[in-house]
Symmetry: none
Subunit: 223 residues, 4 copies
C-alpha cells in the first residue's frame, strides 16, 4: 500500500505517479533534516512541487504520509539459514536494526502516537513498521525450534517480544542499538532458553573460525 487508492474506478484521469514519488522523496528528506515535526503537508507539497490537495487525495494526513515513506524504504531481506542458531539470531537482529537505523529514533514515537487514534493507521503502523522487524528474528527463532535447539517449554512469542522490545526501547529512548548490544541480548535470552547453550556457542565459534569473512567476526565478543 502506497497511497489511498492506486486505481479505484475505471474512468477518470490517471494519477500522476511522479507526484507520488516526489512526495515520498520530499517526506524522507524532511524527516532526515528535521525529524517528524519538520513534516507538514504544506511543506512536503512545496518541496515536491505540488499542492496540498494532491497529497490529501493520496494520503489521509501526515502520519499516512510518513508511513508510506517508510514502506518505500524498508525492504527487509529474508535472513539466511546458516545452520547455526546463534548466527541466525544475530543476523536477524542485525537486519532488524539496519532498518531502524535509517530513521531518526524519535520519529517512531511521534508517528505511533499519531497513528494510535485511527484504527486503520494503527494497523498500517504495525504491518509496516513492527511486523517486518519481528519477522527477521522470528524466522531464526522458529528454525531454532525446528532444530530442537530450544528447551521444550519455551514460549517463542514471548522470547520474540523480549528481543524486539529491546530494540524498540533503545531506539525510542536511548540511541539505536549497535551490533554488540544485539549479541548481548541474544546471549542473555538464549542462555536461559537454549536446551544446551554451551553447545550452540561452540558451534557458532567453530563457524566463526572457518568463515570469518562470511558470517562476520562478531561471535568472538560473545564468549
Amino acid at each position: 500500500m502506497t497511497s489511498k487508492a492506486a486505481r479505484g474506478g475505471l474512468g477518470g484521469r490517471p494519477r500522476d505517479t511522479e507526484i507520488d514519488a516526489a512526495v515520498t522523496v520530499s517526506t524522507l528528506e524532511l524527516l532526515e533534516e528535521g525529524g517528524y515535526f519538520a513534516i507538514s503537508v504544506g511543506e512536503v507539497a512545496r518541496r515536491a512541487g505540488t499542492s496540498r490537495p494532491a497529497i490529501y487525495r493520496r494520503w489521509s494526513g501526515r502520519a499516512a504520509l510518513v508511513l508510506a515513506a517508510f514502506e518505500s524504504r524498508f525492504d527487509t531481506p529474508a535472513p539466511p539459514d546458516t545452520g547455526c542458531t546463534l548466527c541466525d539470531l544475530a543476523e536477524g537482529l542485525t537486519i532488524f536494526l539496519a532498518g531502524y537505523r535509517t530513521i531518526r529514533p524519535e520519529v517512531f514515537g511521534a508517528l505511533y502516537s499519531e497513528c494510535v487514534t485511527d484504527p486503520e493507521l494503527h494497523r498500517w503502523y504495525l504491518r509496516a513498521v513492527v511486523e517486518p522487524a519481528r519477522m527477521a528474528v522470528g524466522e531464526a527463532l522458529h528454525r531454532a525450534v525446528a532444530r530442537g535447539d530450544l528447551r521444550a517449554d519455551v514460549d517463542v512469542t514471548r522470547m520474540l517480544d523480549l528481543i524486539a522490545s529491546f530494540v524498540h526501547y533503545r531506539t525510542l529512548f536511548g540511541e539505536h542499538p549497535g551490533d554488540e548490544d544485539a549479541e548481548h541480548v541474544i546471549e542473555i535470552v538464549m542462555r536461559g532458553a537454549a536446551a544446551d547453550y554451551d553447545a550452540l556457542l561452540a558451534h557458532s565459534l567453530s563457524l566463526a573460525g572457518t568463515h570469518v569473512d562470511d558470517a562476520g567476526t562478531h561471535h568472538v565478543h560473545i564468549g
Copy 2:
C-alpha cells in the same frame, strides 16, 4: 521540579499556587480523556480557569506541562527486600508497571518525541519517567548481585535494559503488560543469568507457601 521557577525575584506579586494545582489536574484529565493530542496549552488553560500566559510563565510548553503532571502522579514506593530474589524482581516490576498503567500507552511516545529536541526536556523525561521505573527493578537486581544469586559475568545494566524495554515495548505497541507477562520475563532472563535458577525458584515457592497474603499469590504461576 514542578514549574519554571518557584520564586524568581524578591519583590512583586507572588504566584498564585492554586493555578499550578488546577493546571496539573486539568492536564491529567485531558490526558485521560483524549490522550496526548487532546492536550493543548489553550485547552488546559480554559479548563483550569486561567490564561495561556499564566501557563507559559510556569512551563515551557505542552511537553513540560505533561511531564510536570506525570511527576505529580508518580511516587514510586521503594520495593521491599523480601530476601527472595525472584520475589523482589516480581515486586519491582509490578511497581514499575503500576506507574505506567495510569497513563494511556501512546502518550509516552508522543511526549518523548516532543522532548527529544530540547536537551533539558530530554533530561527531565529520563529523570521523571524512565529512571524511577528502572530503579524499582534495578534495586532488586543489585540485591541479587549482593546475595550472589547471579552468575559472575552477568552485565546487570544490560539485564535491566532488557527487562525495562519489555515493559516499554508492550506499553507502546501493544497493551499494558499484566503481572503474568512480568513473571515470564523474569523467568526467561533469570534462567540465563542466575547462578542457580532452580534454587531461586524453590526458595520463591517456599515463601509463597508461607506468606501467601503478604507477598501476593503470583508466585504460583512461575513454576
Copy 3:
C-alpha cells in the same frame, strides 16, 4: 445563442439535448434559491444530473451559464402603439421592469462584473440583458419623435439612457421599481423634453377615461 456549438463535426455521438434543458432549469432554480453566488458549475451539474465537463462543453463557465438561462427567460413582447406618447412610455417601462423583476436584483451586478473581462461575454450581456429592455422604451420614444411630441433639440439616446439607468439603479441598489416610480420618471423627463407636456397629459387622461381597463388607471396619479 444557447450553447457553444450546436453541431460541430458531422460524425460522432450526438449531443444529449436533454442535458441543455436540465442545466438551464437547474441554473434558474439555483438563482432563485440563493442568488448568483449559489451558482457553481459543479452544483448545477449535480442538480441537472450530469457532470461538469458536459457543461463546460456547452458553456464557457458560470457567467455564460447564467446568460443562457436569462435568454431562455426573457422574451420581451413588443409594446403596443396606443397613439398616446405618455401611455406608450409607461407601457414600455412596465415591460422593461417586468423582465427584471423575475431576477434577484443583485444578480445583475455580479453577472456583469464577471462578463466584463471577456469581450464576448460582454457583448452577450449587452445583447441579452441590456438591449431588450432599452428597446421597449426606445420604441415608444421614437414614436414620440415621429409624432412631433418632443422638442426638436432633444437627444433621444440620452433620454433613453436616463430612463434606463433609473431602472437599473433601483434594481441594483434599492429594490425593484414599481409602476408608480416608472410614472414619476416619465413625468420628470417628459416635462423637460416634450414640446407641449400639458397637451400630452391631457391626451393621456382622456384615453384613461375611455379605456380605463385597457390602458390602466395609472395616469390619474401623474397630474
Copy 4:
C-alpha cells in the same frame, strides 16, 4: 469605520496599525491592476507582508476589505455654494463622478453583489459608496429648493434618484460618464423641474462670462 474593532476591550496587545495601512494600500493596488476578482485575501496578505488571519481579524472577508479601501479613498469635499443652481448641480455631479472614476467600473457590481447577502455589509456599502455620492448632488438640489428655483410640486428625492442612477448606470454598464454627460442630465431634468429654466440658464451663462476661471468653463456647453 476602517476595521472590525479599533480598540474593543481594555487589555490585550494593541493592533499593529501599519498592517491596516499596508493592507489597504495593497488592496487598492490589486484593484487597479486586475479588478475585483484579482483580490484575494491571501494575495493581499502576501503583498502587505502579513498573514491571512491578521486580515480576517480586521475584516470579515474580501468585500469588507474592498469597502474599507474605498472609504480610505473617498473623501467627498462639500460642494461650494456658487449662488447659481445649474452651476451647483454641475459641481456636485462632478464631485460625484470624480470619486467613481478612481475605481474600475465593474468593481462596483461585483462588490455590491457580494455585499447584498450580509445585511451589515449591505449597510456599509450604501453608507460608504452610495450615500456620499448622492449627498454631493442632494446638497445642490436642496439649495435650489430653498432659492425657489424648482417648481413647487417637484419630488426632490426622486430627482436625485434619477440623477444618481444615471451615473451608476454608465459606471456599471458602459463607461464612466464625462462632464459633458453630466450637463446633459442636468439640462434634461432641470428643464422639467425648474420654475423658470431659461432664467437659470441665463444666470449660469452670465457667471460663466465673468468668472470663467473660477467657476469653470463648462457652462458654455449647456446652451
